[in-house]
C-alpha cells in the first residue's frame, strides 16, 4: 500500500528509535564529560552498551531496581552530573512515579529519564509492558519536559539536545524497527513543533511512531483531494501552542495521533490549547481507554485503531465537523 502512494517523505532504511538513543548517548558522552548513564538490567534493550564500554567510569548498572536508579540519578546532579537513566517506559514512569515526582520534578533536578519499549509497538510482551499512560503522567508533572521523537534520527538528535537542556526531562522511544524518514542533520529544537507537510484542509498533529503513519495518511488523503498539513509534535511539553494555533487558524480542524491513551496525552494537550483559543473540531487517534495485548506491532496498531487508515478516517470526520 505504502509503495504505490506518493509520499512526501520516504525511507531507505528502518531502525529502532532506541538505537537512536544509544548512538546519541555515546556522542553526548564524548561531547560532555558530565554525562553519566544508569541502567536497570536492560543495557542491551536500551542500546547503552557502547556508552558503557567507552565510559565505564561514568556508567552504573543498578540491577532491577528502578526506584533506586531514579534516586541515584537525582543525587548525581548534585555535583553537576547529567544522568541519563535507561529502562523500559513502564518501569521509567509508573514504577517510579513518586521518586520522579519528589526527587526529580519537584526538586528540579537535571535528570534525563530515557524510556524504551513505549506503547503498543513493543509487541509480544503484552499489556504489562505496553505503557500507554506515560506521556500523560509525565506531562502532568510541573518542571518536566516531555519528548517523544518519531524515528532513529530524531531520537538521536533529541538525546543530544537534552545534554544542553537544563532540567528534568522524559525521553520516550520504542522497540520496533521503524522507517528513518527525517534528515540526519536536522537540528532538534526542544519545544518547537516541526511542520513537515503544508496543507489547507486539516492539520494532523502526530508524535512518536505515529508521525510516520501521519505521513502515509497525508498521501492517502491527497489522493482523495484532501490537503492535510502534518505537524510533528516531538515535544509534548512544553507544547508549541503558537504552531498549533497558527496551523488550525488556517485549516480549521485537526487530528491528533499518538501511541498512547486518549486520556491525558497529546490529543488532550492540543484540546486544551484549542478550547481556550480556537475551539475547532479535533479528532483523536489513540488507544481508547483500554490496555494493549500481545501481537506484532502492525497487528496491534491496526486492532487498536492507530494506523494511517485510522488517521485518514479521523481527518474526514474532523472535516465534516468544520
Amino acid at each position: 500500500m505504502e509503495k504505490t502512494l506518493d509520499l512526501k517523505y520516504t525511507y531507505t532504511e528502518k531502525k529502532d528509535t532506541r538505537s537512536g538513543f544509544g548512538d546519541g548517548l555515546l556522542e553526548a558522552g564524548r561531547k560532555n564529560p558530565n554525562v553519566v548513564g544508569l541502567c536497570a538490567d536492560l543495557i542491551g534493550s536500551l542500546k547503552m552498551g557502547a556508552f558503557q564500554k567507552e565510559f565505564p567510569d561514568r556508567f552504573f548498572q543498578v540491577g532491577i531496581a528502578e526506584a533506586n536508579m531514579i534516586g541515584l540519578a537525582a543525587g548525581m546532579t548534585i555535583g553537576g552530573k547529567i544522568p541519563f537513566t535507561g529502562t523500559f517506559a513502564n518501569f521509567s514512569t509508573g514504577r517510579v512515579y513518586d521518586q520522579i515526582r519528589q526527587s526529580v520534578a519537584y526538586s528540579d533536578k537535571n535528570v534525563k529519564i530515557c524510556a524504551s519499549h513505549a506503547g503498543l509497538t513493543l509487541g509480544e510482551d503484552g499489556a504489562t509492558h505496553q505503557i500507554l499512560e506515560d506521556l500523560g503522567m509525565m506531562r502532568m508533572l510541573p518542571h518536566m519536559t516531555v519528548i517523544n521523537p518519531c524515528d532513529y534520527n530524531q531520537t538521536k538528535a533529541a538525546t543530544l539536545a537534552l545534554v544542553d537542556h537544563v532540567g528534568p526531562a522524559y525521553l520516550r522511544f520504542g522497540r520496533p524497527s521503524w522507517p528513518i524518514f527525517t534528515p540526519a542533520d536536522l537540528k532538534f529544537e526542544i519545544g518547537k513543533a516541526w511542520k513537515m507537510i503544508d496543507g489547507n484542509d486539516v492539520t494532523i498533529f502526530a508524535t512518536g511512531h505515529l508521525v510516520w503513519e501521519a505521513v502515509v495518511a497525508e498521501a492517502m488523503l491527497r489522493e482523495e483531494g484532501i490537503s492535510a498539513e502534518v505537524i510533528n509534535i516531538h515535544t509534548i511539553k512544553p507544547l508549541d501552542e503558537e504552531a498549533i494555533l497558527k496551523s488550525v487558524a488556517k485549516t480549521g480542524c485537526a487530528v491528533s495521533a499518538e501511541e498512547h491513551q486518549l486520556n491525558g496525552g497529546l490529543g488532550d494537550s492540543i484540546a486544551q490549547v484549542l478550547s481556550r483559543n480556537n475551539p475547532a473540531p479535533l479528532e483523536y487517534v489513540g488507544v481508547n481507554d483500554s490496555f494493549g495485548e500481545s501481537g506484532t506491532p502492525t497487528q496491534l496498531l491496526e486492532k487498536y485503531g492507530l494506523n494511517a487508515e485510522n488517521i485518514v478516517k479521523a481527518a474526514k470526520k474532523a472535516l465534516k465537523r468544520k
Binding site: 536492560l42 534493550s45 540491577g63 531496581a65 510482551d125 503484552g126 504489562t128 509492558h129 501481537g295
Partner: protein
C-alpha cells in the same frame, strides 16, 4: 488429582520443555531460559504437591494456590496449566499471538484459567501471595499459597518490604521460592548486582529458609517440597532457595543468560527437540 510416580513426573518435564521451546519458537519471542530451568519445580507442584482444581475457581477456596512473580516464565506456566487440564493444549499454539488468552506475561484480563493476577513487572508477586495467604487465614482455609520469584528479581525493593511484612505478621501458610539460577538479562547476577548471601538475608528477615541444591533433579525437588510442607504453621513464612540451571535440558542453552529472552531458530529448535523425548504428544 492422584499423585504421579517420579518417573511419570520426569516424563511430563520432558514434554513441558518441548512445549516451551515450540511456543517460543513459533512466535520468535519469549523467555526460554528460566522456563527450562524451572520445569521440575512447576511439574512437582502441579502434578504432585498442590491440591488444586483444574475446573478453575478464581477464589481458590480450600485449594493450594500458585503465583508467578517472575511473569516472563509464562510459557512454562501455560504448558503446565494446559497439561494439568486447565485448558486445551491446542491453545498453546496461540502463545503471544494477537487475540490470544496466552499473553506474553500472565494476565487475568483475557480470562485464562489458572491465572489469578497479572505479572510481568517484577517484584510484585510476593506481596500479592502474602495477601492471598492472609485472606486464607481469615477464611479459615488451611491450604497453602506458593509463589515463585526470580533471583535477579530480588533486587527490587518491594520484595524486601514484603519479606519484612510476612515475617512480622507470621504468614506461615506461604511457601515462596527463588529461582536461584544465577543469571539475569545483562549477565550473571554476581556481575550485574551481587545478591551476596541471600540465605542469610532471608533468615535475617525472619523467614524459615531451606535449600534445594539440585533444582533440576526431580527427587531432590520432591524431597525439598516435602520438607517445606512440614515447616508450615510454625509462625514463620517459608522460603525455598531453588538452585536451578537456566536452559536445563538443552545442551547449548544451559547455564547462560544468553537464552533469557531469545527464541531458538528453526535449526536450534530441531537440535533442542532432539534432546527431549516427546512423552505425552506435542500439542
Amino acid at each position: 488429582m492422584e499423585k504421579k510416580s517420579t518417573d511419570q513426573l520426569k516424563q511430563i518435564c520432558s514434554q513441558v520443555r518441548r512445549d516451551c521451546l515450540r511456543m517460543v519458537h513459533a512466535v520468535q519471542s519469549g523467555h526460554p531460559g528460566a522456563a527450562l530451568g524451572l520445569c521440575e519445580y512447576f511439574v512437582a507442584l502441579y502434578f504432585n504437591e498442590m491440591e488444586h482444581d483444574s475446573n478453575f475457581n478464581f477464589d481458590g477456596k480450600d485449594e493450594d494456590l500458585f503465583f508467578l512473580s517472575n511473569g516472563h516464565v509464562s510459557a512454562l506456566w501455560y504448558s503446565v496449566l494446559a497439561r494439568s487440564g486447565y485448558f486445551s493444549t491446542d491453545e498453546l499454539a496461540t502463545f503471544r499471538k494477537i487475540n490470544s488468552r496466552l499473553q506474553g506475561h500472565p494476565a487475568t484480563h483475557e480470562g485464562l484459567p489458572g491465572i489469578r493476577i497479572a505479572s510481568g513487572s517484577l517484584g510484585q508477586g510476593l506481596s500479592v501471595a502474602i495477601g492471598t495467604a492472609q485472606a486464607k487465614k481469615i477464611n479459615g482455609d488451611n491450604k497453602t499459597v506458593y509463589v515463585m520469584m526470580g533471583d535477579g528479581e530480588q533486587q527490587e525493593g518491594q520484595v524486601w518490604e514484603a519479606a519484612m511484612y510476612a515475617a512480622h505478621h507470621k504468614v506461615d501458610n506461604l511457601i515462596a521460592a527463588i529461582d536461584y539460577n544465577g543469571q539475569q538479562i545483562d549477565g550473571p547476577t554476581v556481575k550485574v548486582m551481587d545478591l551476596k548471601n541471600l540465605k542469610a538475608k532471608w533468615e535475617a528477615f525472619g523467614w524459615e529458609v531451606l535449600e534445594i541444591k539440585k533444582g533440576n533433579d526431580m527427587e531432590s525437588v520432591l524431597a525439598g517440597l516435602e520438607e517445606a510442607g512440614k515447616l508450615k504453621g510454625n509462625g514463620k513464612p517459608i522460603l525455598i532457595l531453588l538452585y536451578t540451571e537456566m536452559g536445563f535440558g538443552v545442551d547449548f542453552m544451559v547455564g547462560t543468560h544468553k537464552w533469557h529472552g531469545v527464541a531458538p531458530s528453526d535449526a536450534e529448535l530441531e537440535n533442542a527437540l532432539g534432546q527431549l523425548e516427546e512423552t505425552l504428544g506435542d500439542y
